[in-house]
């Protein structure tokens, strides 16, 4: 059996350290593959590592823990780590979501780990699929204070000596280019000095679909998706000749 992989997202260094140490003790056979300091890194790291279990702080810079969980959908077991008070946490209880209250105490972590182990191999060597928390997360996002995400309306791109203002709605797709992001419009393109993972948190998720770790496409610009072979898909755009590959993680967007 492969080793269980874990991702931790927590913005405070001491809390990060603490959770790491406690996990090493409570779950020695699992391996922490990534420690993220904010929501954007957490989501990007999830796509890169595809861990089995994710420990998410709720209040983080960039994407909140709830938003990261929403993006992960049912692809990993999520445990929230929160300092919200009991009143707010009641909502988690009702939704049967795993959560830990900060500061995390050993006995509570042990319980959570036991539950995760149970979910992962179900006692019969067969793992249970993680729950998709979609509806509950939507509800929590509106119920918890300070969880509303600001939307980006304008992008600033330097073209030569000028700074161009780009209306986000006119973008056909974004493509990651290490520390920059390539922004492709109908008749031109530009480079924005911001990594794609950070741009992503300001985009409307219903309108801009992530189809690959390095690609986000305006759903309105998609003409079709075509199969390359049994496994792979690519997106054909309406006003652009470029074809964009869809990674396996996001293939479900185009399944009928």
């Amino acid at each position: 059996m492969t080793m269980t992989t874990i991702l931790i997202a927590e913005d405070e260094p001491l809390m990060r350290e603490r959770l790491l140490e406690m996990l090493a003790e409570a779950w020695p056979e699992a391996r922490v593959v990534l420690v993220a300091e904010n929501g954007n890194d957490a989501w990007d790291g999830f796509l890169a590592q595809e861990p089995d279990v994710v420990f998410l702080d709720i209040r983080m810079p960039g994407l909140s823990g709830l938003e990261v969980a929403e993006r992960i959908g049912g692809r990993a077991h999520v445990v929230f780590v929160t300092a919200y008070d009991q009143y707010a946490v009641d909502a988690f209880d009702k939704g049967a979501v795993d959560y830990l209250l900060k500061p995390v105490q050993a006995d509570r972590l042990d319980k959570a780990v036991a539950r995760l182990r149970d979910k992962l191999d179900g006692g019969q060597g067969k793992g249970r699929a993680p729950d998709d928390l979609g509806d509950l997360l939507q509800h929590l996002k509106s119920a918890l204070p300070g969880m509303r995400q600001e939307r980006t309306k304008w992008l600033k791109a330097s073209v030569g000596r000028q700074i161009r203002l780009i209306d986000v709605d006119e973008v056909l797709f974004f493509q990651s280019d290490t520390k920059y992001t390539r922004v492709v419009l109908r008749d031109s393109e530009a480079l924005v000095r911001m990594p794609l993972k950070d741009l992503l948190s300001g985009l409307d998720r219903d309108r801009f679909w992530q189809i690959h770790r390095g690609t986000v496409v305006n759903a309105g610009a998609i003409a079709a998706a075509e199969r390359i072979d049994a496994e792979r898909l690519q997106v054909i755009l309406r006003d652009c000749d470029e074809k964009l590959p869809v990674s396996r993680t996001f293939a479900h967007l185009f399944r009928d």
Partner: protein, 404 residues
């Protein structure tokens, strides 16, 4: 017959008191003069209604009639006195006149008591009218005497000044007490209003203060602050890190000074800077390299008094809405200086700035309000976009103290 009268009287009285207790009942009072009176009562201000109610209650039933009888007796005695002083008027005429004047004065006084605002506002108009009416009636009587009673014109003209004097005298006799009562009531009312205003202001100040105390208390026991800080202490202590002791010391300093700050309405700038410093130090241990901070308070300004907790509110906002949501973290800087007779205290952060701060702004409203309550309209709080981040400027009128 007697019982019927008594029943009618009781019914009327009940209705009357019913309206006092619930002015809305005026609408269901019996029609005619009774409803008219009920409406008048309902239209009084609550204070006036209360006074009238107390009066009516004290003189309810036979007590009212007893009072009336005593008054009539006094007026009749006045009439007898008039007869003694001025025997030309008959005894009964004198008693009648005394009662008439007395009752008129009572009614006038009563109306003046409840219509004092109108009375005081229109006192010159009333004087003029009384004067005109006096002259008018004197002339009218003169004309009647000449034309109808055939009294020689010369005689009427001779009597006219005396008659005029009499009429005007009676008029003024009626009007002046009314005005006196009116003025008295007016002054009383103004004093009452002033008193209420002062009470209201005091209450509002107390409320403002307790609101900010409550906010601070909430900030301290806010799960995010306290639990995360305790978690950090626990983590550091587990490894025996000396930083654990430092963090605990800062947390203690923050809790202690905020609790004593909370009890006073004003504190020195040095105290407030100290409070903010302990808060920022706690946050710095927790946030690590993501938070940097500088505090600069010129020693000349240390003793300046400011409303307590306002700087802490701004510093908390800077962390919560500026640095914490920022991917890169940033710096919080506090400074104070005097410029153009104004003390400017600046809380500046290089966080995510105004657009990403969807807070309700109650903390800022509270700061603004308390500044203005303490220093008047010249004091204020202004926010502006930094590059990046947010700059909050507190402005307070300030006169440089003479050096001793």
């Amino acid at each position: 017959m007697w019982r019927k009268m008594a029943n009618w009287h009781r019914g009327w009285e009940d209705e009357f008191f019913g309206v006092f207790e619930q002015p809305a009942r005026a609408a269901v009072a019996q029609s005619g003069y009774r409803r008219c009176i009920a409406r008048k009562i309902a239209a009084l201000s609550p204070i006036e209604r209360h006074q009238l109610y107390d009066f009516s209650k004290a003189h309810r039933g036979w007590r009212g009639y007893w009072l009336l009888a005593r008054l009539l007796l006094v007026f009749s005695l006045g009439g007898v006195l008039l007869h003694v002083l001025h025997p030309r008027t008959g005894l009964f005429a004198s008693i009648f006149t005394g009662n008439m004047i007395g009752l008129a004065l009572i009614i006038a006084g009563f109306t003046a008591w409840f219509n004092y605002r109108k009375l005081v506002d229109q006192r010159w108009k009333l004087m003029r009218r009384t004067f005109m009416a006096g002259i008018g009636s004197a002339l009218l009587v003169g004309v009647v005497k000449v034309w109808i009673q055939d009294i020689p014109t010369q005689q009427v003209l001779d009597e006219l000044p005396r008659f005029l004097g009499l009429v005007l005298g009676v008029g003024l006799l009626m009007l002046l007490p009314q005005l006196a009562v009116g003025m008295l009531r007016y002054r009383q009312y103004e004093m009452l209003t002033e008193q209420l205003q002062a009470e209201f202001e005091r209450e509002r100040l107390a409320r403002e203060l307790s609101e900010s105390q409550l906010r601070l208390l909430r900030a301290q026991i806010e799960p995010h602050f306290l639990f995360n800080t305790l978690g950090a202490v626990q983590q550091l202590a587990q490894h025996g890190a000396p930083r654990a002791a430092v963090l605990t010391a800062n947390l203690i300093a923050f809790l202690r000074s905020s609790m004593s700050d909370m009890r006073s309405e004003q504190v020195s700038l040095a105290t407030e800077f100290g409070l903010v410093e302990s808060y920022l130090k706690v946050m710095q241990v927790r946030m690590g390299e993501r938070l940097r901070c500088t505090l600069a308070l010129p020693s000349a300004l240390e003793a300046v008094q400011v409303p307590s907790m306002i700087l802490l509110t701004l510093a908390e906002n800077a962390i919560k809405h500026g640095i914490e949501p920022s991917l890169r973290g940033g710096e919080v800087a506090l400074s104070a200086r005097v410029e153009d007779g104004m003390l400017r205290i600046r809380v500046e952060d290089s966080g995510v700035g105004m657009s990403a701060t969807p807070g309700a702004g109650t903390g800022l409203d509270n700061v603004r309000h308390r500044l203005q309550l303490t220093f008047g309209a010249a004091a204020g709080l202004a926010l502006q976009e930094g590059d990046p981040g947010l700059i909050a400027d507190i402005t307070i009128p300030y006169s440089v103290p003479m050096s001793a």
